[in-house]
Amino acid sequence: MLRTVVTRLAGAAVMAVLATLVIFLIANTVPGDPVLAQLGDIAASNPATVAEWRAKWGLDLPLWEQYLIFLRGLAQGDLGTSIASQRPVLEDIAQYAPATVELASIAFLLALGIGIPLGIAAAVWRDSWVDAAARVVSLIGVSSPTFWLAFIMLAIFYGGLQIAPGPGRLDPIAFPPDEVTGFFLVDTLLAGDWEGFRDAAAHLVLPSIVLAAATIGLITRTTRAAMLEAMGQDYVRVSRAKGMRERYTILRHVLPNALIPVVTLGGLAYANLLAGAVMTETVFSWPGLGRYTFRSAAALDFPAIMGITLVVSVTYLLVNLLVDLSYAMLDPRVRR
């Protein structure tokens, strides 16, 4: 088991670096010049300024050398300096990532916490009103555009009913907690700041629901299908023939088998939530990676783009590894 993990981690590292190479090549072939984006029209018309600027950022070097410099920095844990913010990319990412991860994780828990029980109920009481309700919920979740959903939610709960706070991570006049992890829910708790915790949690409600909506639908449907499939298996009939209670049969025999496909989906879903945060963050003014990515891409900020790529692919690969490990926990057939 341990060896599998180590092998997989090594593989993940190689994959992540390969991903940066791909992004590096793509970024350098897209039309557009960071010079224009950064210096503005007037400065960019002065060849000397441009040359000096290019030399400063190493953009005058051959492509392979630029990439080599990136790799050398990477080996030392240095992702370079952002052209736009003039700060180390790692620092930028460390500043923006926690907001996104916090939002995506809450959305993920929400999706699992609603989707799985709803899927179970829909399968157990198949063709009843529960099933119908679950179908409506997943249909709405899967088919509403995030952007639209976000505005509607804001309009109703913040603008109309005024029971939800507005955009942002905290009340505009509140002070952010001392940074330990960057996750406000955790940091406020660590500081013993109940007010702050409540505020942070309240601000998470709408964006995480919006972000999770599609995933809730997917997980509900997958759980329902997997449950129905497992309920048709022979061992379920055997459990009934043994005189086990129906509740026991569903929870102990059907559910563990049905969760196996749900875990696969869950891994993919988490990666998608991270990526999907861009839209939600924009509407809710959420100072996260999504917005950082958007800005860096617009500015053709190569070091930042590479850094984000690296972070996203590492996260994706780690989540995949976690999925495989939980597979092994759920399904003894893949255990070694």
């Binding site: 022979d234 061992y235 055997v238 009934r240 023939a241 043994k242 086990m244 025999h253 196996i260």
Partner: protein
């Protein structure tokens, strides 16, 4: 007399389908006394399993019990509340299902699956239940139960899983155990072990057993009485031996005579009794006797009036006007329906000669550093098939029978060895060089469902090889040939434009045979061609194969696990174990007096009421390790130190080849010698 364990009266179970109510069980009555054994036999679709599920009240939508009564130890099961039923199930009445591969939950340890009914019914506390589970596994013959119990089902073989299922059935010492085809998915040797276990458990604990099977011999070796079901009704009920010896209902008569029996003398004509047609449509049952459309003995009254189940002799019930009137059904006895069996042709040049054939399958590596593991499927096989003869291949599952068939037809390429077919070496031949040979050697597979393309009409299926090999031009010529082929296998030529799903299993197997015959091959390699079929249809296919052989001089390589069938059909038999030939001999001699110990135990495992049996313990060793010494020595009852060296396949008697240091050294009462 005490209250019977189970009394079923006029049980009716229907499936409420869109097309109407399907009467799956239609007025079934029987009684099982305390500690008694009753078998239920019938072809697929006759209502056996639905009866069993009705008794357990485990029916699922859209099935309903529409009438009758079920009393268990005097209590009315149909009047019970769900909670009362649940308390009975798995406690006083238990059920074991057919497929041990799917009946165990793959993600739960054997231990919990075994103990949950004990704990759930409040009979034992957890530690006690665990001790009892270990004890039960010991009782079921599972080695190292303390360790096995912590494993997951996928780590067990089919036979071991069925033992676990039985252990689960006996967990709370039930008064009644219902076993639905518990051995159908298993090898003969393992089947013998399981049946033996059932008998012992019945004798020891006094558990009443209701055993369901399509195989009368299986029932005969466990159950004292049997009920024969046809189209949802019991058509005969009596002591099993009496039914086997002298059936009183024409359907039971057909069942008994459709299967060759391993103890019967072989006649000159090997044709078996087979009844044409199929069971009636349960939506549209005949108004008179349900068997009348297929019955060879019917009289005028049969189609008009529905016969009751009535006594035809003391203790014997039959649902038949003719036998109720005292008429006796003829003895068919497997032999002598006229005609003469041609003697096997003189051994000239064999049509197929195999020498030193080896096939290894390397498995994919489990990880980059792990050593590559290799399945040793076939480990040096020599055999000859003479022109016009039928060579049978037998052995337990995994012994390499199918691999051998795929090698001689060159679906697989051998790892080593030579295959000479019609004088031509084909072991290393290129696909292009083999193509013309495909015409001369055809294969028929086990599963007639999987081997026909569902989207092609059978006319197209049969025309395809003809056109591909340029044997007939498209149009009238092909159509004539296809019509002729269908007629040859006993199908209506007007059916050319039908699709496979419109045919029954037996008809589909006929189509596969017709497809194999299309190219007028000299040899047909048939891998378990009848094992997926009901006994009556098996008889039809076997008769067809015999006919075709006589008419066309075909040579067969016939692979089967049913030894009685092999004895009946084959001229010579080769016994395989772990990819090696153990014994090769003329069929009659081999069955009368096996010389290899493995052949001996294999034959003795065949279920047949009243036979002495040598139980072969354990299962074949893994094919992952190459066999060293005699491959059978781990299970051989007469193994000696010398068996550490591999005995050569040597001619022990004229025409009989045996790979054993002590040929004929293992003899046993009832096995001849």
């Amino acid at each position: 007399m005490s209250t019977p364990t189970l009394e079923v009266e006029d049980l009716r179970t229907v499936f409420l389908t869109d097309a109407g109510a399907v009467r799956a069980v239609d007025g079934v009555s029987f009684t099982v006394g305390a500690g008694e054994t009753l078998g239920i036999v019938g072809e697929s679709g006759s209502g056996k399993s639905v009866t069993a599920l009705s008794l357990m009240r485990l029916l699922e939508e859209p099935a309903r019990i529409a009438g009758g009564s079920i009393r268990f130890q005097g209590r009315d099961l149909l009047a019970m509340r769900p909670e009362e039923l649940r308390a009975l199930r798995g406690d006083r009445m238990a059920m074991v299902f057919q497929d041990p591969m799917t009946g165990l939950n793959p993600v739960i340890r054997i231990l919990r699956q075994l103990t949950e009914p004990m704990v759930g019914h409040g009979r034992f506390a957890a530690p006690e239940a665990r001790r009892r589970a270990v004890g039960l596994l010991v009782r079921m013959g599972i080695t190292a139960p303390e360790r096995s119990i912590l494993r997951f089902p996928h780590e067990f073989s089919g036979g071991m899983r069925q033992r676990v299922m039985l252990a689960m059935g006996f967990a709370n010492d039930p008064a009644l155990l219902i076993a639905d085809e518990p051995t159908t998915a298993l090898d003969v040797t393992i089947q013998a072990q399981i049946l033996d276990l059932l008998r012992q458990l019945n004798a020891e604990f006094g558990t009443a057993i209701l055993l369901i099977s399509h195989d009368l011999s299986v029932i005969g070796s466990v159950c004292r009485r049997v009920a024969v079901m046809y189209a949802g009704e019991v058509v005969e009920e009596a002591v099993t031996e009496a039914v086997l010896a002298d059936p009183r209902h024409p359907y039971a008569w057909a069942l008994v005579n459709a299967v060759p029996r391993i103890d019967q003398p072989l006649g000159a004509d090997r044709r078996l009794v087979s009844i044409e047609g199929a069971p009636p449509d349960a939506l549209n049952l005949p108004q008179g006797c349900r068997f009348a459309p297929r019955c060879p003995f019917k009289v005028e009254r049969c189609e008009r009036e529905h016969p009751p189940l009535a006594e035809v002799a003391p203790g014997r019930l039959a649902r038949c006007w003719v036998t109720q009137a005292g008429q006796v059904l003829p003895k068919a006895g497997g032999a002598g329906l006229g005609g003469v069996r041609p003697p096997p042709p003189p051994a000239a040049e064999p049509l197929l000669a195999v020498r030193g054939l080896v096939k290894h399958f390397p498995l994919p590596r489990e990880s980059f550093f792990a050593p590559r593991r290799v399945v040793h499927a076939v480990n040096g096989i020599d055999l000859d098939v003479a022109r016009g003869e039928t060579l049978g291949i037998v052995g337990e599952s995994g012994c390499g029978k199918s691999t051998l068939a795929r090698l001689v037809t060159r679906i697989h390429a051998p790892t080593a060895g030579s295959i000479v077919f019609g004088g031509q070496e084909i072991a290393g031949a290129s696909p292009a060089a083999i193509r013309p040979l495909r015409r001369r050697m055809q294969m028929v597979f086990q599963d007639p469902y999987a081997s026909l393309n569902p989207r092609m009409t059978i006319g197209d299926t049969l025309a395809e090889p003809l056109v591909a090999h340029g044997l007939a031009r498209r149009g009238v010529e092909v159509r004539d040939r296809v019509g002729g082929l269908l007629e040859m296998v006993g199908l209506n030529p007007a059916w050319v434009s039908r699709f496979p799903h419109e045919f029954s299993g037996g008809q589909r197997q006929r189509i596969s045979i017709a497809r194999a015959l299309a190219l007028e091959p000299e040899m047909i390699v048939a891998d378990e061609p009848i094992s997926a079929l009901d006994v009556n249809i098996q008889a039809q296919i076997l008769n067809l194969m015999l006919d075709l052989q006589q008419r066309m001089g075909l040579t067969y390589l016939f692979i089967a696990h049913d030894l009685a069938v092999v004895r009946h059909l084959c001229d010579r038999v080769v016994v395989l174990y772990l990819g090696k030939v153990m014994e090769s001999a003329p069929a009659e001699a081999l069955f009368a007096r096996p010389l290899h110990p493995y052949t001996g135990v294999l034959i003795s495992a065949v279920p047949e009421p009243g036979r002495q049996r040598v139980l072969l313990q354990g299962e074949p060793p893994s094919t992952l390790a190459p066999p060293r010494g005699c491959p059978f020595r781990g299970r051989c009852p007469i193994a000696q130190p010398v068996c550490e060296t591999m005995p050569p396949l040597a001619e022990a008697e004229a025409g009989r080849w045996v790979a054993c240091h002590f040929p004929g050294g293992f003899s046993h009462a009832g096995l001849g010698a």
